[in-house]
Amino acid sequence: MRAQFRSRIRLVLTFIAFGALLILLRLYFLQIVHGADYAQKEADQQFASGGSGLFDRGSIYFTRKDGTLISAATLATGFLVAINPQTMTDPEAAYAAITAVASSTLSHDAFIAAAAKKSQVYIEVAHHLSDADGQRLAALGIPGVQVLRENWRYYPGGSLAAQTIGIVSYGQGNTLSGQTGLEAFYNDTLSRSDNSLYTNFFAELFSNVGNLLVNARDAREGDIVTTIEPEVQTRLEDDIAKVNQQYSSDDSGGIIMDPTTGAIIALTAYPTYDENALQNVDPTLLGNPLVEHVHEFGSIMKPLTMTSALDAGVITPQTTYDDTGCITVNMSKICNWDFKARGVIPMEQIILQSLNVGASWVATQLGQDKFRAYFTELFGQKTGIDLPNEGHALLSNLSAPEQVDYDTAAFGQGIAITPIQMIRALAAVANGGILVQPHLVSAIRLDSGITRTLDWNQTTRVFSATAAHETTKMMTDMVDTVLENGRAIIPTMSVAAKTGTAQLTKPGGGYYTNRFFHSFVGFFPSYNPRFIILLYTDNPKHVEYASETLDTTFLDLVHFLINYYHVPPDRGVATTTPS
């Protein structure tokens, strides 16, 4: 009996040892003999369609002025063509049939080389065929040619708001995901974790009842609705492109925002790219310079210096100072743009005539500590805009003890700010002293059917309403009396604005005397603003002042917005005759 038991144990042990040997042998072949092949297969997997189903992703929408949603990013559907070299009998005929319907395919030599790879069974040779073309090719029934359903990301606007919408591509892994812009920032909302179409309903029912009742995915995944108005965006892009081309600038940009809510209506930078043709795009264009790059903005900083001093109570609009044309501070010379003295003049003239000496005088009255406190509150933190890679302002000059650094910062030199930070700060002047949170997405339409409105109401008061109002009046007078020598006035609409011209920094330190950064900010109606506009153009050629490059663009946008949104008059007579 005992001997019989032992022999059985031995038998079982023999089977186990044999099994282990087989496993080891299999592992040896998998990892050592065919290891390189499997590694290559994994590397090739990115070129093959995933086995988990068709690509799916939520949409991004523009919002027209009447609330209609227009797709900014959606899915296109069609077919891809793959070949199976093992079953392909006539590669030349297959190539001819495929190229007859596919606009983009492999070259003839590459196709024939692919067809010769008899060890492979699946090689994709053409993508993005229309429904009709795909079905026509499939009907031919060519041996070794497979026509498969395919979805891909499609941007109906092409280059419209490209740097804001962003792109989808393969990142670190083998899955498509948002890489820039809103596609990246809202990737968790837009991406689809799996394709529920292929889920067995009954298996799902019995395996996870909770998921059917409250699906966490449905509460997270959805479409996003932006505040971008497509027609305003088109207009802004057109105007900015014209400026950049006319003056051969390095780059240009613009933002139109609701100053009371922070909702961005249009946002563009030039040069840009076509989102549907990414093959030859310069990678440096893929980011968004309006939130990532910093600039010394020049004199559009003066309204902020003025409002800070008015808010602190160190000056009033009636305060006067003696403008000598040039002053020397810490051994550095600061001069007005035309080097001319104005004599004893009130504060408003600093804005109207854009006087650097005056802005420096105001900064001195404010004092270093208060100046630093105001500007740190305005620019010390990121705005929190819903775009990736937001940049930091460079404010290190405001930590120095030399007064000259504060004086130059007062007219926008020596400190560098992102355009989005700049428009947020200037919106605080427009809206009565409140820092709003700039944002691009107003709501998320969840797959569960619920529309979740996003809360962007985190605001901070930085100026008193009185101080903001007094600066607004100065900026309005600038448009009414100075801009285009007073011809820019709109009798029925108050418009506040300020131009800025900054010298560009040299790579090794110091400033160029013949290279400039032009900026322009304005809002209207002045005392109950609906729109604030920030424009800039970097290194325009053969022109010195922003009033020459950007005033026409600004006024074009103002008139367009008044007409497009039917903004009612806020002052003056009802009829005017343009000159």
């Binding site: 002025k65 227009i70 296109a76 559907t77 499609y154 092409g158 292929y198 497509p230 009612p568």
Partner: protein, 93 residues
């Protein structure tokens, strides 16, 4: 009193038969459901793609209108502009 005899084997066989039919039915329902869902989903995707084509045309026409130089087309600048208060039709406010 009559003596009822329960044929256990027959009952078990009958139950298994019924369960088998139900199981096959469920499989058929699931497969039909999956096929219909895929079909409807693809139909929705096709419609969305068709809408995207229309949206492309709309945005292209907006761009064309924006780029049009009306002076070059023979239109003149208005000699007068009349501003009248109008109800805002925007979604912003």
């Amino acid at each position: 009193m009559r003596n009822f005899h329960l044929p256990l084997l027959s009952i078990c066989a009958g139950t298994v038969g019924v369960l088998l039919v139900v199981y096959i039915g469920l499989i058929a329902v699931v497969m039909s459901y999956a096929a219909l869902t895929v079909e409807f989903s693809q139909s929705v995707k096709n419609d969305e793609a068709a809408v995207a084509v229309l949206e492309t045309q709309y945005l292209a026409s907006v761009e064309s209108i924006t780029n049009t130089n009306y002076l070059a087309e023979g239109y003149a600048i208005p000699i007068a502009q009349i501003f009248v208060p109008a109800r805002s039709v925007t979604a912003l406010r």
